[in-house]
């Protein structure tokens, strides 16, 4: 178990010195690693250097040994591997039991996971079982002078940043947002140690079964997954009529992106979809987000402000969307958007 909660201010953390090392959980689906896992190794390496400890990964799955070598290539020096058929589909219980088993046995001081659907599903149970703290959705991690992990994350819809510490339980567990960190340089000459472990979990012990997996990234009508999109073109109320949604779709198609909309556009019936980007809808973090005629109320920006590059196109230069935008065009969406599409086509045709 983690450190028990009978802590009083000023008291040293019980057995703190027993917890050593920075660990990264390698997330995978059918053996395919999630990129965020390698991003975690870049910030993990920085933390491990500051703490002067080892950087390790946990690889859990079915036929996932190839991820050990990949862990080394991206900077880990040791991998804890649990490889068994029961871990083929991700399910909360076997995974949290496996992670907990490894943490209990080897006692890392810092454990990092990706702030993804899977990472967020897994972290709560692990922290609860270990009776320790967790900080979700960090965008920055550092170490203070007392070897404490400084976990910085946006709070209140991204209005403020908060730095959170866990002074009295171990390990310190954080999830980190995808694309908050860079993927480290690959070094294929690197190797490391693989620690093989096994868990006594049988399929009969698990109450959850994955019956079917449906790919929603292929753009079937009504099932377009905008959270996986690299580029998003978002329609706001500024497109004025549902006929004009076509130009949003055309730009998205031309850029190989997905279309999205604001809640206002959905409520005005301007769009063919019923889900929207924003605080009460879907949160997205694409590489490029193009907001077309979106005014940018906080309810909307809370769902997209972490995109890498935000482009705002709006007639009203006072629109708050320009406050979060990287690039802006002041102008009529109905003129600017088709102009962008035409120019992209023209450039492509020249090639």
């Amino acid at each position: 178990m983690g450190v028990r909660q009978s802590w009083k201010k000023g008291e040293p953390i019980m057995a703190e010195e027993d917890y050593k090392g920075v660990w990264v959980f390698v997330e995978q689906t059918d053996g395919e690693p999630a990129t965020v896992s390698w991003e975690l190794l870049s910030v993990g390496a920085d933390l491990a250097r500051k703490l002067d400890v080892e950087l390790c990964t946990m690889v859990i799955g079915d036929n996932v040994e190839h991820l050990c070598q990949e862990s080394f290539v991206y900077g880990a020096s040791k991998v804890y591997l649990i490889d068994a058929p029961v871990f083929h589909d991700y399910r909360t219980e076997p995974y949290y039991r496996a992670v907990r088993y490894l943490i209990d046995k080897y006692k890392p001081e810092v454990v990092l996971l990706g702030s993804t659907s899977l990472g967020r599903d897994l972290t709560g149970p692990v922290a609860t079982e270990l009776n320790t703290g967790l900080t979700e959705g960090c965008t920055e991690l550092d170490i203070d002078e007392n070897r404490l992990l400084l976990q910085t994350r946006p709070a209140y819809s991204g209005n403020i940043m908060a730095t959170i510490v866990n002074e009295r339980a171990r390990p310190q567990i954080s999830t980190v947002r995808p694309r908050a960190m860079e993927v480290p340089e690959k070094d294929t000459s690197r190797t490391g140690e693989i620690v093989r472990e096994s868990m006594d979990i049988s399929e009969e012990d698990i109450g959850v079964k994955v019956l079917e997996v449906i790919d929603s990234s292929k753009g079937e009508a009504g099932a377009i997954d905008i959270t996986a999109a690299d580029i998003i073109v978002c329609a706001g109320r500024g497109i004025q009529s549902s006929e004009n949604f076509q130009m949003i779709q055309e730009l998205a198609d031309e850029l190989g992106g997905a279309v999205a909309c604001s809640r206002a556009a959905v409520e005005d019936g301007l769009t063919p979809v019923e889900s929207w980007v924003g605080q009460s809808g879907t949160t997205v973090r694409p590489r490029i987000y193009i907001a077309c005629g979106v005014s940018g109320a906080i309810q909307h920006t809370a769902g997209m402000r972490d995109s890498d590059v935000i482009i705002a196109i709006n007639y009203d230069k006072q629109a708050p969307i320009f406050e979060v935008a990287t690039f802006g065009i002041e102008g009529d969406v109905l003129q600017v958007v088709p102009a962008i599409t035409r120019y992209v086509r023209e450039l492509r045709a020249r090639k």
Binding site: G124, P125, L134, I164, V165, R168, V210, S216, I298, K351
Partner: protein, 270 residues
Amino acid sequence: MLIVVCIKEVPDAAYINIDPATGTLIREGVPSIINPFDNHALEESLRLKEKHGFRVAAISMGPTSAGETLRNALAMGVDEVVLLSDPVFSGSDTLATTKVLAEAIKRLAEKEEVAIVICGKQTIDGATAQVGPGIATRLKYSQLTLVDQIQNVDDQAGKVRVRRMLEGRYEIVEATLPALITVVPQINTPREPTVRMQMMAEDAEVTLWDNEVMKLPKESIGVKGSPTRVRKIFSQIMPESEILGDGIYDPEGAAHLLIDTLTEEDILSL
């Protein structure tokens, strides 16, 4: 069988402002609303009630003012509401919060078998998405997060089948009951309470469970039971946006400038 829905009252983000001098939140005068995600959880619990005849209990942890949110849940059609409120609960982080909520669900389950606990996928203030999973772990319930369809509930066989909405894919998952489900907003469109229901709810009783009732060890809840602490709060500095061209008089030119800038800076490759 009982469905328990967990709801939270949160500050309405539309009214949150930052004090530019101190970089801290101005909380005064910010109205409270039900966490928007919890509204979908509430709606889904009512649909299960209508379809399967389950009873629905809504619980909320927070200050006594959160009783209003629970009253609204009554107006929407839940059968019973419990407010978990005590000064010793305040300052709880996710770990301590799930202790209180799980204990309340345990108490409800003593009176009536719980089939499903439903939560919103996250709150808009904390946005950790960790309270639902923490409750599931404490109660040893099946954990089903990010659900956009509850396809079937078979309380005879003790099974629930749901669809989960993940990055680039859906998963159809079957789990044993009792289960804890967190829902995404795509699952439903919440109803509006009728005026008649609202009037009835005004006089309805909100049960209060404080720590006299809950009897949780004080060192395990609130600030004392929370391993995490906020050390610093500061405002996020957004770099100013770069306005490209004159989109009003020369939309073509602005469009060209945008695409040229994106390709030159390696943001976009065509």
